[in-house]
């Protein structure tokens, strides 16, 4: 396998050397580690790395991954962070238009020549306890495309900014002084489908880890608790195991105090499907009472040594469409939701666990019961937090291409991607797979969403089909099919619209009404706004098939900047960084400002959502 610059534009290259996506469970060496949330299988690679910034691919140091490379150009950078917030390159906010609008005439999948490159270098040792184990290198988020070398050997390539990318580097590492080199490109072909309404950043912006796999490891698990109408529960568990060598041992799993099951295993048992368990009474998972049961899976070797321990928290729920209503746990679902970008005024989309904890507290306090991960997978920890807090999730696939068909207020899809272009299908289906496989165990996820504002065509139909086949326990959402009514039978379980007025909602329900109705975006909270919110709340009483909506959006995207005249720090938005083009203050539509301070309209959110649901 050789790294090649052509990967950036070649649609047939989805990734190189990347491990298949799998569930986001954390494995521990013992229960004590789990109690402390500190797995001995993991080690962080965050911190200060060496760094070379180039404003174009031509300027990059082509030999930087080689052993004796040295250069006076090497500086330092903090990992994780956005390159643009560390003093390199151009900060730019732009909404629907592509960032190269007015600078270059491009069509998909051409790659912009304005393509800064960040070359990251660091060394690492294999920690004592990981010696002899299989070694995985894990990136939780790198924007937009990157190549990885370990000790001069090419380990792989990925170009999905918001999904976890992992590379098996077992055969490339030694005990000490491993040299890890990562080359990050700001733009690639996938920039066309990562046109989300946000600041355009690049770099390693989420954590990087090394982790190791013991001799027998749970690569993937799918645990599901299905609530029955009579308040009983059906629990299913499916595991995929991998082995480093021959193995004899047993696997033991339990759910709460309901039961414990034991199974003898050998290295041939790479897939285990446990019998379904019927539990006469379970507490349901609900946003008011987000009850989760402790799932514990332990693998022992034949000397009864604990090899690996995987805990997870699973709830029992059930979602389906019945009589054009979204039914959750056999009652009508009323979504009081909000769209949430990951944001920090100092770090951009590089956010901390503290930021996320604050978000949970703010959402609960505002009586919000659902969040849409607009329009990409979030940090994996967010899904765990939503599980625990009782915040339902619409888990979005990393896709938005509105610049390819929305020209200001005109709809003109002559070169829309992905559209019907089959050569884009693999890239998009890979994103669906990453989203589904990684987060499928999270009880709070009720909807998979194909992404946002990408018009509709056959590739999107295939994405819908992927989710429907992969997961029978959840609903699939996509709004863009609104523009292709002929495709409604094969895309989206719900009629989803954005910014439809209460009168338009009534019109759909009265005239068409074949699917439940929800608003994936409504109540545009830009500046001083959110007037007339109560009118939507009244729709719940008027129409049983109205399922609610998600406010646009949770948090202003603005960055701390120093006023050049007074030295005063202020919250800067689009255009404040001299970038052209930009959509200026359109970046600020939150119900909280960028510092997570409530905007005045929050009392309206709290009252309208609270009135309905608490």
């Amino acid at each position: 396998m050789k790294a090649d610059l052509s990967f950036l534009e070649d649609l047939s290259v989805v990734s190189a050397g990347r491990r298949p996506a799998h569930s986001d469970h954390i494995h521990y060496r013992n229960e004590k580690e789990a109690e402390e949330f500190s797995s001995g299988f993991y080690t962080s690679l965050n911190g200060e790395w060496e760094f070379i910034y180039s404003s174009s691919p031509e300027e990059r140091e082509k030999d930087f991954h080689k052993k004796n490379f040295s250069s006076s150009r090497i500086t330092k950078i903090n990992v994780p962070s956005h390159i643009e917030l560390q003093g390199y390159g151009q900060i730019q906010y732009i909404n629907t238009m592509y960032p190269w609008e007015g600078h270059e005439m491009l069509r998909p999948p051409m790659v912009s020549r304005d393509n800064p490159v960040g070359q990251y270098i660091r060394t690492f040792d294999i920690p004592e306890q990981m010696k002899g184990e299989r070694i995985i290198l894990r990136f939780d988020g790198v924007e937009n495309a990157f190549y990885v070398w370990v000790n001069g050997r090419f380990a792989g390539f990925s170009c999905d900014s918001f999904s976890i990318s992992e590379f098996d580097i077992t055969k490339m590492v030694k005990q000490k002084d491993n040299r890890l080199c990562v080359e990050v490109y700001k733009r690639s072909k996938t920039s066309w489908i990562e046109d989300q309404d946000f600041f355009r950043f690049s770099g390693i912006f989420r954590p990087v880890y090394l982790y190791s796999l013991p001799v027998c490891h749970i690569d993937d698990m799918w645990a599901n608790g299905d609530l029955q109408r009579d308040e009983s529960g059906i629990f299913s568990l499916r595991l995929k195991l991998s082995f480093a060598s021959e193995f004899k041992g047993k696997i033991e799993y339990s759910l709460g105090s309901f039961f414990k099951r034991v199974k003898e295993i050998t290295e041939k048992d790479t897939e285990i499907v446990f019998d379904e368990e019927h539990i006469p009474f379970v507490k349901q998972y609900h946003y008011r009472t987000p009850f989760l049961y402790d799932l514990s899976i332990k693998i022992y070797d034949n000397k009864k040594n604990l090899v690996e321990y995987v805990p997870y928290r699973i709830g029992f729920n059930h979602i389906e469409v019945e009589n054009e209503m979204v039914m959750y746990n056999y009652h009508r679902l009323m979504i009081c939701g909000v769209n949430r970008h990951e944001w920090s005024p100092s770090g951009g989309r590089c956010i901390s666990l503290d930021d996320m904890k604050k978000d949970i507290a703010i959402l609960k306090d505002a009586k919000v019961n659902a969040v849409r991960t607009c329009h990409y997978p979030d940090r994996f920890e967010w899904y765990y937090m939503c599980d625990e807090a009782g915040i339902y999730m619409m888990a979005e696939t990393n896709m938005e291409s509105h610049g390819s068909w929305q020209k200001d207020s005109r709809i003109e899809p002559s070169w829309n991607v992905p559209g019907d272009n089959q050569e884009w299908a693999m890239l998009l289906l890979d994103r669906c797979r990453s989203n589904f496989e990684t987060y499928k165990n999270h009880t709070s996820i009720l909807f998979w969403s194909l992404g946002n504002e990408s018009y509709c065509g056959d590739v999107i139909r295939q994405m819908n089909e992927f989710y429907k086949k992969a997961d029978k326990t959840r609903l699939v959402h996509y709004e863009g099919v609104f523009h292709r009514p002929d495709m409604k039978p094969c895309v989206s379980d719900v009629e989803s619209r954005m910014y439809a007025s209460p009168a338009q909602v009534k019109e759909y329900i009265q005239k068409d009404g074949r699917k439940p109705f929800l608003l994936c975006e409504y109540m545009h909270s830009m500046g001083n706004s959110l007037g007339g919110f109560k009118d939507y709340d009244d729709l719940f009483d008027e129409y049983l098939t109205y399922a609610g909506g998600f406010i646009w959006d949770y948090i202003d995207q603005a960055l701390y900047k120093k006023d050049e005249v007074t030295g005063e720090t202020y919250l800067a938005y689009g255009g404040d960084f001299g970038e052209k083009r930009s959509d200026y203050e359109f970046s600020c539509n939150g119900i909280v400002n960028a510092e997570r301070k409530e905007k005045p309209a929050m009392q309206e959110v709290r009252a309208v959502y609270g009135n309905r649901l608490w």
Binding site: S409, M498, Y499, A500, S501, P502, Y522, M523, H524, S525, M526, G527, N528, S529, L530, G531, G532, F533, K534, D535, W552, D556, A558, D563, T566, E568, Y570, L571, A572, Y573, D576, Y584, E585, F586, C588, N593, A594, K597, K599, P600, A601, Q603, E604, V605, R606, A607, V608
Partner: protein
């Protein structure tokens, strides 16, 4: 009361309240309580708010921009005084006619009111009448505001009066509704007594109108060495905002830090306020229930103490 029939002004002294109404600037020129001044300039007609994102996005600001000018400039058409039931017209009040008032019993009148008639600098024009009244048996100064519209005028974001207080406030308290409220954002507000320390700062990244408080029955403004109270004379109450800058200064500012240093306080008392909208992205106006009709009549009444 002591009434001063000046050459260019009418002075009224009623206990601790001292008021000077100017004929040439067309309004209340000085308002003192306990010997402390509360006015920087004559209160002006208020017709503008710094465009909210929805005002701009819906094209409202563009369609209604003549009201921004009407908020800055206005014509004084006429004024008259009624003292203890005697009507004194403009002609009766200016020199040399005021010489005859030197020995008039009206200089000790128990009830006096002065009515100013304004026209807007719009085409077509609208009319505003403001009547200030003082009585010896009542504390303070009553203000009655009437806007009388004309067909053909575009909708405005608000109509009312703007007082520029020549000082920074330390706090304010009001009986009315919690938080920031607009006609289409009342549902979440609760009724009660509320207090805020200091002036409210613009909570929005792009500077725009904020801080409206609907349906207020009383407002108390505290500064270091003086305080001012407004009490509603109507059941529905008045609407007010207390801001550190003018609507035009805020209109032009991209960020709150772009505003001039906070020196004076802009008190707007509005008879009517437009909703903020936001239902349909940023491209639609608020629902028609929350849009003002510039051909209609709007009134408010309050007492300044």
């Amino acid at each position: 009361m002591e009434i001063v029939f000046g050459d260019l002004s009418l002075g009224v002294l009623n206990g601790s309240g001292e008021y000077i109404f100017a004929y040439n600037t067309g309004g209340l020129e000085s308002l003192k309580t306990e010997g402390r001044e509360h006015l920087y300039r004559t209160p002006a007609l208020a017709f503008w708010r710094a465009s909210t994102d929805n005002d701009r996005g819906s094209g409202f600001s563009k369609a209604s921009s003549l009201w921004m000018g009407a908020d800055l400039f206005y014509n004084v058409e006429n004024f008259s005084v009624t003292a203890d039931g005697t009507l004194l017209r403009w002609d009766d009040l200016i020199p040399p006619q005021n010489n005859s008032l030197l020995d008039s019993p009206l200089r000790k009148a128990d009830d006096i009111s002065i009515r100013f008639l304004y026209s807007t600098v719009t085409s077509p024009q609208a009319e505003v009448e403001v009547t200030y009244s003082v009585s010896s048996d009542t504390e303070g100064l009553s203000v009655d505001y009437v806007y009388r519209g004309s067909e053909g005028l575009p909708s405005f974001p608000l109509c009312g009066m703007r007082f520029i207080l020549p000082y920074r406030i330390t706090s304010f308290a009001w009986d009315g509704l919690s938080g920031e409220t607009y006609p289409d954002r009342l549902y979440g507000a609760r009724e009660g007594h509320f207090e805020k320390k200091g002036i409210e700062r613009c909570p929005y990244a792009k500077t725009q109108d904020y801080g409206m408080h609907m349906h207020t029955s009383s407002l108390e403004i505290m500064a270091e060495d003086r305080s001012l109270r407004l009490v509603s004379c109507t059941d529905e109450g008045f609407n007010f905002s207390l801001l550190p800058a003018s609507a035009q200064e805020m209109e032009m500012a991209y960020h709150p830090v772009d505003l001039p240093a906070y020196r004076r306080t802009y008190l707007t008392v509005a008879a009517a306020v437009r909703g903020v909208g936001g239902i349909d992205s940023w491209m639609s106006p608020p629902d028609s229930r929350y849009v003002l009709d510039a051909s209609a009549e709007y009134r408010t009444s309050f007492r300044i103490i």
